[in-house]
Amino acid sequence: MRVFAVALDLLREARSRKWTLALVGATSLVLVLVAFGLELDVVDGALAATRFFGGSGSGEIRPVEVALRPLFEAVASTIFGAGLVFGVLACADFAPALLAPGRIEQLLSLPLRRWELLVGTYLGVLALVLAGALYGGAGLSLIIMAKSGVFGWAPLLAALLSAAAFSAVYAVMVLSAVAVRSAALSGAAGGAALLLFTVAGSRSDLAPLFSAGPGRTLFLALTSPLPRLTGLGQHAFRLAAGRGTDLTLLLAQLGGTFLFAAAVLAAAVALFERKDY
């Protein structure tokens, strides 16, 4: 499948980009700092003390699985948010670079269909963001396990949910790149999508801020088709904190996010198919 060849080429290109390498380096540095700075004293299955660069945490002695929940929750929220920001920052340039004058002509002359080129780019970027988020999540999980003997799936789950949320954000970025061919605008579109999806995630809390009537109805109508970004994040945080979550709601929100991403990507492909370069 040529779609996967395009996606693999994008990953190869990312591997040799200084910007991507810098972000991977920064993530590694954070992991190293946490590895050296975090101290967890576990005695007979209970967390006796927590220190981060010398600063002490709660002195209360609790079972380690329970005591680590706030830590996992913090890690999950970091991974979820950082995954999205990493995606927007590191990947804003990929689609516009592919569509750059002189490069797109050559790519379109190759035995590739236009949709394969765009969908391959999209999948490549998603794979990159997923790999980045999983790297950070797995790294933190392993560090905590090495320090406490407890392996938590929450950071990995947060990485997966972050990549799922990013699928909708990046679809918007691809559509913007096809329309305008600018990395700055693609990044701005990603930032705007993050903001709008966050607002959509809290639409029921924000709706009362609008006076009842057409304003509130319009707000609810406009935010209705948007992915619920904060909703997805909260599932990750709740699971990390051991509070359990509504699986049906999680699946519905994931489905909505993927449906939105597919619709926006289809619009981008339709625009790309009839565009001249």
Partner: protein
């Protein structure tokens, strides 16, 4: 078989804010036989690059029909048989030439070993830079990498848009050699270049595109004076030898030499040979003989001005 067939091809770019719509191609009819070396020339804004892009589906024609190697240009199987070098080539800056070639080979489903890719880079004179990122390359070096990708897998049709742009004279000579090799192995060459001398040296057929229409098209020899009854020959004799004027006049050529002693004789090859034989029998010595055709510059100028 035709390598390229365009029928009534038109392209209209829609206007935008403060930008009127533009008719880039207005019913182009063109047939390029397989194995030909075809050069497309024309003034700036004539629609040459739009035509090249339409050939490969990079721009969507507004009307008309294009066939490439007997198939639809949108068909990946057809495009796999084509090598293309765009006018303003931009390459993935963080990749090396070797990675770029490997990527193109994968898309074309060519299983070429590294040694073959290196040989391709060697052919265009860039093998020593095969491991360097192209982001730091000069325009000429990028052009060589682009040419290597176009030539990869010995394509049946080569579509090159300004292939010698940015190359030094030696580079141009090397590229000309490569193109002549490709033609010799039976590939069709479609060359769009503003360098008329290059086009003239490589291409046997020429098309002149003016204001989105093919103004002239045909073999290089026949382009100079369409409709002209006879060919003009430029003949020079050794000054010390016998004056050939009387013999030439007897053979039906009414010509007097110019200040440099050059005769311009109008007639077919048989009449010319008879006249030259007569002059040489009388003691005249031919030191220069060539067809006095119009060069491409003159052809282009005439086509632009709408002269026959």
């Amino acid at each position: 078989m035709l390598a390229i067939e365009a029928e009534g091809l038109s392209k209209r770019y829609p206007g935008g804010v403060g930008r009127p719509p533009q008719e880039a191609l207005r019913g182009v009819d063109l047939r390029v036989p397989a194995g030909a070396a075809f050069g497309l020339i024309g003034p700036n804004g004539a629609g040459k690059t739009t035509f090249v892009k339409a050939l490969l589906g990079v721009v969507q024609p507004s009307g008309g029909r294009i066939r490439l190697l007997g198939g639809d240009p949108q068909d990946p199987a057809v495009r796999a048989r084509v090598g293309y070098l765009p006018e303003r080539l931009e390459l993935a800056r963080s990749w090396t030439p070797l990675e770029i070639l490997a990527s193109v080979a994968r898309y074309k489903r060519l299983s070429l070993p590294r040694a073959r890719l290196l040989a391709q880079l060697e052919e265009v004179g860039i093998a020593e830079e095969s491991g360097r990122r192209v982001g730091g390359f000069s325009k000429g070096m990028k052009q060589r990498v682009g040419l290597a990708t176009a030539l990869l897998g010995t394509p049946e049709l080569l579509v090159l848009d300004e292939p010698t742009d940015g190359l030094d004279p030696m580079g141009r000579m090397e590229v000309r050699g490569l193109l002549q090799q490709a033609i010799a192995r039976g590939a069709t060459l479609f060359l769009n270049s503003h360098l008329l001398a290059e086009t003239e040296r490589v291409c046997g057929r020429i098309g002149v595109l003016v204001s989105g229409r093919i103004a002239r098209e045909g073999p290089l020899d026949g382009l100079g004076a369409p409709g002209a009854a006879e060919t003009t020959w430029r003949v020079r004799f050794a000054p010390a030898a016998t004056d050939p004027s009387a013999r030439l006049a007897a053979a039906g050529f009414s010509a007097a030499p110019d200040e440099a002693g050059v005769f311009r004789l109008q007639g077919d090859a048989a009449r010319l040979n008879a006249a030259l034989d007569a002059a040489r029998t009388a003691g005249a010595l031919v030191v220069e003989l060539r067809r006095d055709g119009q060069d491409l510059e003159a052809v282009l100028a005439a086509a632009v001005e709408g002269r026959a």
